[in-house]
Symmetry: C2
Subunit: 208 residues, 2 copies
């Protein structure tokens, strides 16, 4: 069940796939704890406590703290990849697809800034095997955006001197929204997405 | 004394002003520890150990772990501000000054990515009073860059619809270099600075 509070802050959709409900509660508690104190300063006891559960009850769902981080990181990265692949595969010209990709990717990082911070800043805490999985998702996200830029360059609609470098800059710009975005700030997630779509179109020299 | 290793990785200049040498060693050990494990998971004992000192010797220089973080954050933010103010106050037109600001600011965040990560990601661990001081430095950095964009817009050399929003995006782009930059990566700090200066000039619609 998705609570009203979850719906209000938009965070429910991140974890809707996690079931049973106790496992989802643990994921949400872990995200909050990791964001506040960092992965290494958080114990499974802290997470269970936040979720209103006993440490023993946590172990039914997750064998280790790292397994919880991997669950969070995996879901977050898959969601980010899906947004990018949807935009890349949509109808429309390169400029339209690029604008859609940047708009939704930046907006997602604003709306889910707590989750996004955890998945970006705690990568090195993943096990080697789990890191390899997540790195694969990150490479696919990069490739998907790079494809849009290359399409635009090939069609003569964008002027991009360095396609991999510009791809990196555009992803970085969107990801970093998670660092500075505040729900109390001057802009809504949608407004950030709109601003960034415009800035990126100019960055790639899209013909108006 | 600055060691060869410090010179080689470019990290010495960050802390050259910290003296005596034992205090500088502690600052460097703290940056490494905070970057690896996070502020909250690091103890003063860990830091002293990394610096090859006893916890008692640490307390001669820093009364608390937070005081060490504030020293690091203060020096890092002052350095970033100085880079921006030098570019803003230099001779030359807005495009030249903007390119110089982005080039050096991005390059600094690449070269000093470990320090930059700590000062960006551990802001919430500062005391209220120390945070207020650092926030003042951040506002001045923002104002300095915004001044260049406004000069360019006023002179008709840039086309910027939203000056505060574009300022935020440009700062964010440069700061996030610290997150993804790796000394083993394909680009040097100088190459990142050069790439970004070009992308940002286009972002503000600078006339070629």
């Amino acid at each position: 069940m998705v609570t009203e509070a979850e719906q209000a802050d938009g965070s429910a959709e991140d974890w809707a796939d996690v079931s049973p409900e106790a496992a989802r509660r643990l994921v949400r508690a872990a995200v909050e704890a990791f964001a506040e104190r960092g992965y290494h300063a958080t114990t499974t006891r802290d997470i269970a406590g936040r979720a209103g559960m006993s440490p023993a009850a946590l172990y039914i769902h997750y064998k280790t703290k790292e397994e919880l981080l991997f669950r969070i990181s995996g879901i977050g990265h898959e969601k980010a990849l899906r947004i990018m692949e949807e935009a890349a595969g949509a109808d429309g010209g390169p400029a339209e697809r690029l604008a859609a990709a940047v708009r939704t990717f930046a907006c997602w990082h604003a709306r889910h800034h707590t989750t996004a911070r955890v998945i970006q800043y705690e990568l090195q805490a993943l096990s080697e095997e789990h890191y390899a999985h997540v790195a694969g998702l990150r490479r696919r996200t990069d490739r998907s955006l790079r494809g849009i830029l290359q399409d635009g360059a090939d069609a003569g609609e964008f002027t991009v001197g360095d396609v991999p470098g510009t791809t990196l800059a555009v992803l970085s710009l969107c990801v970093d929204v998670a660092r500075w975005f505040s729900a109390e700030g001057a802009r809504t997630p949608e407004e950030v997405g709109e601003l960034y779509a415009g800035l990126v179109l100019r960055m790639v020299g899209a013909r108006p």
